[in-house]
């Protein structure tokens, strides 16, 4: 799969040490690698060209530092440049001085406007606001129904309005609904009105006109462009058109819980100049987060995203259970297979194993793990769970009981082979011993006696 950029750069620069400065000649290959990495991440070709020029200009003539390898040095320049484009600070949400604040959600079909509207309402509620939702999507079947369900789920007020089924829904209906909703928001004392609109193509003149008249009518404080993180090269075209017609105030990048590298973020930011205000990271309504430019930069370059991994771990892993496991594992008796299964479940809550491994950088202590990622079979974990599930409670606590005939039974019960059961037991015993050693005072003494490099 996609090789880590830093590794490639390292190779590209292997002959560079000892040279005084970065020159056009010795940096050429590195720039090509950067270019490929960005293109594979779906950053727009034009944006990439521009970026490469800037990076080259910054890198040329720089002294080759002794503290960093040239590869690291160039990566640092690239990172700084990307963070620069994306903006260093987390962008703020704008409120009207005179409520209600109006938020207009805009975007292509299927980018996630309705779900994001619900998440935004949830976020506003958590911040002590009283949001009201309204859907002016009179075109897609059941779109208004969808927002209604979403509003119920997040516990936000919704203005439903009435549609005359005998009349073909059109822009006039849309404007009427919007107007009524704003009045209703004021009546109910809601301080934010979130207007969910129909998905539309940026080249659909009629629907883009409708959007413009909605803007004129509502005078919104925020016009958020909702974009799918998986979008490819076309992102610049749609974002540019939406921005030209509506003057966007910010971007929401959705579906970032997938494994797309999200180059669209860079493209959209570059063409609109507007900040990415939120990112969508899951299907639940609390899965809307403020955007941190430095994190997506790591992702774009295929350099791991430790910050997100730690956050994910923090969120998904039951700390009490983890602490219990640690104390058991390090103490005399060691952990049981039951504990082991629980631990496995905790880790799996964080997502697939390969996605977890994928968030680690492929340098330093994690080198090699990235390669394991592609060969790793998620099914193995399922098998392990099944095997432990087919044991009796007693067997889980006392693995030494498990003899040949029990192994056969367990293999049959879990739909695996005796060999797999054997393997699991062997690994379990090894792991248990390893943990126990960690916990022994002698181990701590040995560690203390060791000289740490660099100290």
């Amino acid at each position: 799969m996609f090789e880590n950029l830093q590794e490639k750069l390292q190779r590209a620069f292997k002959n560079l040490r000892g040279q005084g400065t970065l020159t056009e000649e010795n940096i050429g290959e590195a720039l090509r690698e950067i270019r490929l990495a960005l293109l594979e991440s779906d950053v727009n070709l034009g944006v990439v060209k521009h970026l490469i020029e800037q990076i080259q200009a910054k890198a040329l003539g720089q002294e080759v530092l002794t503290s960093l390898s040239p590869g690291e040095q160039v990566v640092k320049i690239v990172r700084d440049e990307l963070v620069n484009i994306l903006g260093k600070d987390t962008a703020k949400f704008k409120f009207a001085s005179q409520p209600p604040t109006v938020v207009l959600m805009a975007g292509l079909q299927g980018s996630g406007k309705t779900t994001t509207s619900g998440k935004l309402a949830h976020w506003l509620k958590a911040g002590g606001h009283r949001p009201m939702l309204v859907s002016v999507d009179v075109y897609r079947p059941a779109a208004r129904e969808q927002l209604k369900v979403v509003a119920q789920q997040v516990g936000a007020r919704i203005y439903e309005g009435a549609l005359d089924s005998s009349v073909q829904a059109n822009s006039a209906t849309v404007e009427r609904l919007a107007k009524e909703a704003r009045r209703e928001a004021a009546n109910y004392g809601c301080d934010v009105l979130i207007v969910d609109t129909a998905g539309r193509l940026h080249i659909d003149d009629d629907l883009m006109d409708e959007m413009q008249s909605l803007k004129k009518l509502l005078n919104p404080q925020e016009i958020l462009f909702v974009a799918d993180a998986m979008t490819g090269q076309d992102a610049v075209r749609s974002a540019d058109e939406f921005h030209k017609k509506l003057t966007l105030t910010g971007v929401v990048l959705t579906k970032l819980d997938g494994d797309a590298r999200g180059g669209a973020a860079l493209s959209i930011r570059q063409v609109t100049g507007q900040p990415i205000k939120f990112i969508g990271v899951g299907e639940k309504f609390d899965a809307l987060e403020p955007f941190h430019p430095d994190r997506i930069v790591s992702r774009l370059l295929g350099m791991g995203d430790i910050a997100s991994l730690l956050e994910r771990a923090d969120e998904k892993i039951d700390k009490k259970k983890a602490a219990e496991f640690a104390s058991k594992a390090l103490a005399g008796d060691g952990f049981s297979l039951e504990d082991f299964r629980e631990q496995l479940r905790q880790v799996r809550k964080m997502g697939s194993f390969s996605s977890i491994l994928g968030m680690l950088p492929s340098v330093g202590p994690f080198a090699g793990l990235q390669k394991a990622k592609d060969s790793f079979d998620e099914k193995q974990l399922v098998h392990v769970e099944a095997i432990i599930g087919s044991m009796t409670n007693k067997e889980r606590r006392h693995h030494e009981l498990i003899n040949g005939s029990r192994r056969k039974r367990i293999a049959k019960g879990s739909g695996t082979s005796v060999q797999e059961v054997n393997n699991l037991l062997k690994q379990y015993v090894q792991m248990r011993k390893m943990f126990k050693d960690f916990g022994k005072p002698s181990f701590a003494r040995r560690m203390a006696g060791m000289k740490l490099p660099g100290r």
């Binding site: 590209a12 050429g28 290959e29 090509r32 270019r35 490929l36 293109l39 594979e40 991440s41 779906d42 070709l45 292509l108 079909q109 299927g110 980018s111 996630g112 309705t114 075109y139 897609r140 079947p141 059941a142 779109a143 129904e145 969808q146 927002l147 209604k148 369900v149 979403v150 789920q153 193509l201 940026h202 080249i203 799918d228 998986m230 979008t231 490819g232 090269q233 076309d234 992102a235 075209r237 749609s238 579906k255 819980d257 997938g258 494994d259 797309a260 590298r261 180059g263 669209a264 299907e283 799996r348 997502g351 697939s352 390969s354 996605s355 998620e378 399922v382």
Partner: protein, 326 residues
Amino acid sequence: MLRNLFGKSSEPKPAAPEATAAKLGFFDRMKQAVTRTRENLSERIEAVVSIGKEIDRSTLDELEATLIGADLGTTTTHEILEKLRLRADRRQIKDADELKQLLRAEVLGILQSANQKPPAETEGPEVILMVGVNGTGKTTTVGKLAHLLQGQGKSVVLCAADTFRAAAIDQLLVWGERSGVEVVKTKPGGDPAAVLFDALESAKTKHTDYVLVDTAGRLHNKVGLMAELDKIRRTAGRLVPGAPHEVLLVMDATTGQNGLQQARQFTESAGVTGIVLTKLDGTAKGGVIVAIAREMGLPVRFVGVGEKIGDLLPFDAQAFAESLFS
């Protein structure tokens, strides 16, 4: 005839030997790529340039931009241009027009090499599973496909197996109404496999020709959700032999290189047999399907070109290749 153009035999060959040959070729090229790391794309194209004088650097930059801009990805773009270079070694390329012509043929070759499944001989209903990430247009595609099949005189039943997304069932009901097709459903949050069971039972007793199954959108890296698809598949297979007969991955034409990952993961969990490329009426070209055809041999079955019920068309590789360069 087009196949002859590429020097391949026009007889249908078993897929396996061809696939290995393609693989070998790929690894050879990988090796070449490693030994020539200093050569980048533009330089490689320059090898082409030297053949015909009329073709200048900007033409080639333009072609590269065209392919990458259409989301074919760097690997596929490189490979296509590399093939072009090999071909150019053997015969003269006179001008930029001819170069473009060859490029188009190259893309077409990749698309047509994707294996086309013969129409399945089925006993009982033919089951088509619609899968994909969130927001690609699965429900809309089910609605349109029902209309298309009805137009061919087939009987159709829709199965609302997306019990997760708010109002997904209602949305499918509207499509059912539009084409006057029965929709089998359960309450929101219900078990998708259970709805499928009901739909298949109903189709079997009524001798319906097609069951179109709308599933919930899911990101391909979510293990639990992907396992659910596997369960749906197995349920179908238990009730109707050979089902699901088609598993269509619905992909948004705006999708970038992540499309490859989608194709890989959904194929692994759900056994994808073909692709529906939606939202082609926008400005996005959907070129990632070329990369998918190249790597996985997955054919595109239909394209979505609008929001109306008739806006689903059978895929036309020729027209698609043309559109990349228009």
